[in-house]
């Protein structure tokens, strides 16, 4: 147990509490960025003029018709940029481009007195383009050798030799789609200039400090003239880590040139056509196994579908490479990674940040290889789990490796896996149109930013004379419950009731130089900083209280608003009394806290080091039922056991686990990004650009039975109050649904048949997989289905 992880008596952390804004959410009183714009009635609205070409040179821009329209105030162009015309940090992302790099790329922005006026103005701007050749799909990019950024390789042992020596080699290509974030609140920013000439920006962003830096270079003003606030976000999931900054910059330019507040809010179609998504990947792989199922060697090439500019693709690729092992020890590895450049939105962070992509490949390998090896998939997976003392391909010891097995056994037990395996088999023997599938998959996910410098955080804690507490910290709230946990941490560290602590919105003038709230690290980092600030205050007022109680400051205890001394039976003080006395004694009652994650090191060139503080693990069992007439399926039951350390806030953590799982199910089975890859006039256009064509999970995707358990006695020494990060890892528990579908499809095929499954495994794709399975000579084939297949042979599949 470390000082960081030790909990005092009667801690507020560990209690199940509702989200700190729940009462505001349910009454419609919780404000979001664009709700604030309603309170600035003279605010202008910004609307983009989007490119109708996937790739084209901008020859001329004629704004005269637009400016003649009523209510159109100004057209923002590159000429209005006082500083650097770039919305990113890689200098490959012009805010106002002279070359349209994707269909929907914003070329200029119109400011109108109303949204209707701005939108009409945007429709009236005439841009002359010279269309250029374009690359849309990742396979086109690979063929054209169109890549960007640093290629990376992760390597250990001698993979080629080990592959050659292996008893069984399984090879394949696994290609899978990206995913639209579909945060319910689209991107939004509201900028204004205050009375002192300060630029103040409300932004729906996960990374206020980077918004500040980017606005700073765009406006050519130092950071201290720019303040960014992120009040709360209506979901983000990584989509507002970087992609929000350009919009903040547009609003900031607008307010500078007009002197009025400027509001920018993308509608759903703008958001989907303009902002980056999860990277789809193309992977080719060879896996070598011993005859008894030990994975001995893996060689692979991963191509991340980067889109038009780099954004964070290099870091996403890095994390993908660090997760090609998932929970499996692979002694010999050689995996190359690269980033394609294409004329699409610039793909970005999304919950898991490459981790899911790396893990999807290895889970696909496991699922496809098990029948080849004559093993049950669950046996093959378990056989290859990390054991204590083993290290990852990038050289990091897997501490507490046995936890993977503990979680696995717990999920098997909770789900009644062995019995249900029999029930599913019996059901499948008795039904030939409907089949069930059952699968279990593990998750091992590294926690910390791969880039070591980002693993720091700050907080500001104020104790007022009446004993009330106000905290602010560098993390942003996007629904994940970070603020709730920070309140619990502060209440625990100060020994006051939760109701004594309030939280102020995240702003760059409260805590500077913050990292993005990302990489699941928000609680670890900011919690460490909040705790540190509280402990500074406690140390100072302990001396005061010691004097009042007649004991040494070291013997003072703070709990639930009461201050007591060891061995002092007849006297206790209220926190407020002590605080007031401390004020009178001129003792500082506020503190700035700081936290840095210790022990991290990472060499990005070698892809070696210890980039993670710890691993967050879990296991999930999923049962599905598929209808062979249509390929449609439903999830009958899910059992999850997840390691959230000693949970700071169990209801919030379970919410993250369930929500992550269902979002992962969406990625793997339902959400189907389609781009126009034809040579037609709308080549490059996103075809699924609205909620009516891009379907995220609804109530119909909720598992009928959904059991989630947190691993007991799971203290993590390296994190605040023994907890673990929980934002991203559960997303990857959804692999169990994909493997359960694979299991169900396999019951249409003979023994030993390796089921290929597209991702997303939409009903249509599952239908084709069933057809392939039946074509392979499965048992009890329906004669009617047989006649259909004769008429409609299956398409060629990878």
């Amino acid at each position: 147990m470390s000082d960081l992880s030790r909990r005092p008596n009667a801690p507020i952390v560990g209690e199940s509490v509702a989200h700190e804004s729940a009462r505001l959410h349910v009454t419609g009183q919780a404000l979001y960025t664009d709700d604030l714009a309603q309170r600035a009635p003279d605010a202008l609205t910004a609307w983009p003029v989007q490119s109708p070409h996937a790739h084209a040179r901008v020859l001329s821009i004629d704004i005269s018709n637009a400016m003649a329209l009523p209510g159109v105030v100004r057209i923002l162009t590159a000429d209005d940029v006082p500083g650097v015309n770039d919305a990113g940090i890689k200098h490959d992302e012009p805010l106002f481009p002279s070359e349209a790099m994707f269909y929907g790329h914003a070329i200029v922005w119109v400011l109108g007195e109303t949204q209707d006026a701005a939108r009409a103005g945007a429709a009236a701007v005439v841009i002359d383009y010279e269309p250029l050749p374009s690359i849309i799909s990742v396979t086109e990019a690979i063929e054209a050798h169109s890549f960007q950024g640093m290629a990376r390789t992760i390597s250990r042992g001698n993979a080629d030799q080990a592959l050659a020596d292996a008893d069984v080699i399984v090879s394949g290509v696994t290609e899978f789609s990206g995913q639209e974030h579909f945060y319910l609140e689209t991107h939004a920013a509201l900028a204004m200039v205050d009375e002192g000439g300060q630029i103040f920006i409300q932004s729906s962003t996960q990374h206020p400090s980077e918004a500040q830096e980017i606005v700073s270079h765009v406006l050519n003003r130092p950071s201290h003239e720019i303040t960014v606030q992120s009040l709360r976000m209506g979901g983000a999931f990584g989509g507002k880590e970087m992609q929000s900054h350009g919009f903040a910059a547009i609003a900031a330019i607008g307010t500078l040139v007009t002197g009025k507040p400027v509001r920018l809010r993308l509608n759903r179609t703008l958001d989907m056509t303009m902002t980056g998504k999860r990277h789809g990947f193309h992977t080719t792989w060879n896996a070598g196994f011993s005859s008894d199922g030990r994975l001995l060697a893996l060689t692979a090439t991963l191509t991340a579908d980067g889109g038009w500019c780099l954004d964070m693709s290099e870091a996403v690729l890095g994390r993908a490479l660090c997760h090609i092992d998932n929970a499996y020890f692979i002694p010999n590895v050689h995996v190359d990674g690269r980033i394609s450049k294409s004329n699409k939105t610039s793909q970005t962070a999304f919950r898991g940040f490459g981790g899911p992509q790396g893990m999807l490949m290895i889970e696909d390998i496991m699922g496809r290889s098990a029948p080849v090896l004559g093993m049950r998939p669950e046996d093959l997976r378990k056989k290859n789990f990390y054991r204590d003392g083993e290290t990852t391909p990038y050289g990091m010891p897997v501490r507490h490796a046995h936890r993977i097995t503990d979680l696995w056994e717990g999920a098997l037990r909770n789900s009644g896996f062995v019995q249900r395996r029999k029930e599913v088999d019996t059901f499948n023997e008795q039904n030939h149109d409907v089949k069930r599938g059952l699968a279990i998959t593990p998750v091992k996910f590294g926690i910390s930013f791969n880039l070591v410098a980002f693993n720091q955080a700050g907080a500001l804690v104020h104790v007022y004379k009446d004993g009330s507490v106000l905290i602010s910290h560098g993390g942003t709230e996007m629904g994940q419950g970070l603020h709730t946990k920070m309140l619990q941490v502060a209440a625990t560290a100060l020994g006051v009731p939760l109701s004594s602590v309030k939280l102020a919105p995240t702003r760059t003038d409260k805590v500077p130089n913050t990292s993005a709230t990302a990489a699941s690290s928000g609680t670890d980092l900011n919690g460490g900083a909040v705790k540190n600030a509280c402990e500074q205050i406690i140390e100072r007022i302990s001396a005061v209280a010691g004097g009042m109680l007649g004991v040494s400051g070291k013997d003072v205890r703070f709990s639930n608003g009461q201050v007591t001394g060891l061995g002092v039976r007849d006297k206790s003080l209220s926190f407020a009394e002590v605080v007031l006395r401390a004020y009178m004694q001129r003792v500082q009652l506020w503190a700035a806290g700081f936290y840095r994650t210790e022990g991290l090191h990472w060499n990005a060139d070698l892809m070696q080091g210890e980039p993670f503080k710890y691993f967050a693990c879990g296991a999930a069992v999923t049962e599905v039922e598929i209808d062979s007439f249509t390929g449609a399926y439903k999830t009958r039951r899910v059992d999850i056991v997840h390691d959230a350390g000693d949970s700071l806030s169990p209801m919030i953590d379970i919410g993250q686990i369930e929500g992550g799982y269902v979002q992962g199910v969406g990625w793997l089975t339902l959400e189907d990004l389609r781009w126009d890859e034809s040579d037609g006039p709308h080549r490059g256009r996103l075809l699924t650009q609205s909620a009516s064509t891009y379907k995220i999970p609804s109530f119909s995707e909720m598992p009928e039975v959904f059991n989630v358990h947190l691993l007991d006695q799971a203290e993590e020494e390296g994190a605040v109050y023994g907890s673990k990060a929980v934002g991203e890892p559960p997303f990857m528990l959804a692999f169990s649904v994909r493997e359960a579908i694979r299991d169900a499809v396999s019951s249409f095929a003979p023994e030993g048949y390796s089921v290929l499954l597209a991702s997303p495994a939409t009903p249509e794709e599952v239908f084709w997989s069933i057809q392939d399975a039946r074509d392979a000579g499965g048992t009890s084939v329906d004669d009617l289905a047989q006649s259909l297949r004769a008429n409609y042979p299956s398409p060629a599949r990878p």
């Binding site: 989200h19 009462r23 979901g235 109530f699 119909s700 909720m702």
Partner: protein, 490 residues
Amino acid sequence: MTTSESRVNVEPTFTINGSEHPFGPATSHATALEWLRDNRLAGAKEGCAEGECGACAVLVAQTDREGGTSWTAVNSCLVPMAALDGQELVTSEGLGTPEELHPVQKAMAAAGGSQCGYCTPGFICSMAGEYYRSDRKPAETEPSPCEHGEVGENGFDLHSLSGNLCRCTGYRPIRDAAYSLGPADVDSMKDRLQSPPPSYPSTDLFRTDGRFIRATTLVEATELLAENPTAVLVAGSTDWGVEVNLRARRAPLVIAIDRIPELDSISFSDNEVEIGAATPLSEIERVLDGRIPLLQQLIPQFASRLIRNRATLGGNLGTGSPIGDSPPALLSLEAQIVLVSAKGERVLPLSEYFTGYRATVKRQGELIKSLRIPLPLSNLSAFHKIAKRRFDDISSVAVAFSFQIDDAVISKAVIGLGGVAATPLRAYATEQTLVGQPWTRETIRRAATVLATEGTPMSDHRASSRYRSIMLSSALIKFYSQNSPEQERK
């Protein structure tokens, strides 16, 4: 324009959360969502602006068709505010306050039903609508989880939330909150259920962006349309609202026709059921109460409850879309469509209504008055919708079967198809293959091969053409296997 002379231009007013509000300076196209947000009621959110996510849901006092009121959740992003003239609305802000939560709000907060909170006000309104549903009764027996009826022990129908999307929670805590609700407390909103909802005045709103008129009689509607043949007609506005929001369309004149008695009624005779073209689907479902089994199957699969609370058959047919869900069902029921204009009425089979992609025989100046479904119905019917998502998705393919089977012989077979051609289709060739044949696997096998060749489906983002064709056959085979003599013996 004669219509303007004969009308009184009175500013629309509303009762929102119990207070009177004038329309104010908003445009005639302003949606209820825009209007509410511009008037400091920012609880309702825009998530998609096309009625898919429900973040904008609010409650409107609508008729329960039995002399009382139903608190009906609707997508405020699709309804023009002008269409709610004289109406009573309740938003999440009006249900309760942070200090004094409404029972629905309390249940959601306690269950962890909100994470980012952005979708929450909409969920609250949908949930409150179901909470106050007067015929919501605790289940007498353990609810059976059947494919299209997820109902809690408290009688809460989960389909009431099918039009609300949440990206954070995975829905389980929202379901638990919904299923934990008791019977509706006696409060002012429950009291309100006893008396009729407000009537609709003859709204006439002029703004620079256009004019909005509510016609209250059929004569008025047809005359207005005769004078303004390019006017946009709206009932539930679930289609027009999308045009306004996503494609920025504006119209010089919008005419609301949804509260005209002839269009907003359902009548039964020995020979037919007549359904007014502007009757909301939820109300059709309630009034029919299973009397047309095929529609009973169709309606829960048609969009979401939020949409069905406003959407109408006239709207679904008026657009002429090839992927509407109602045409295949109505075709297989051999429905007739009644078109009316200032010159009079004409009645024709629905199978003759569609002429091409989004084209129909409806002439300028005509509107759809009603659908007539002949009786008796065939004795075996089914509606098969193939889509990516089970709740609230657009069909890749929709197939409706109405078969009369007497003594194991198919004496009549009518099949309606959607999603496989530029228009909804009757599968005539397949029907001919079936009629007079025994109800056997052999018959179905032959017919399924024919059915797969009907239509000329396209490949698009929803499905490939091959999948669509095969799904036609597959639906017939599934229909047989679920209703075959062998099945009955099991």
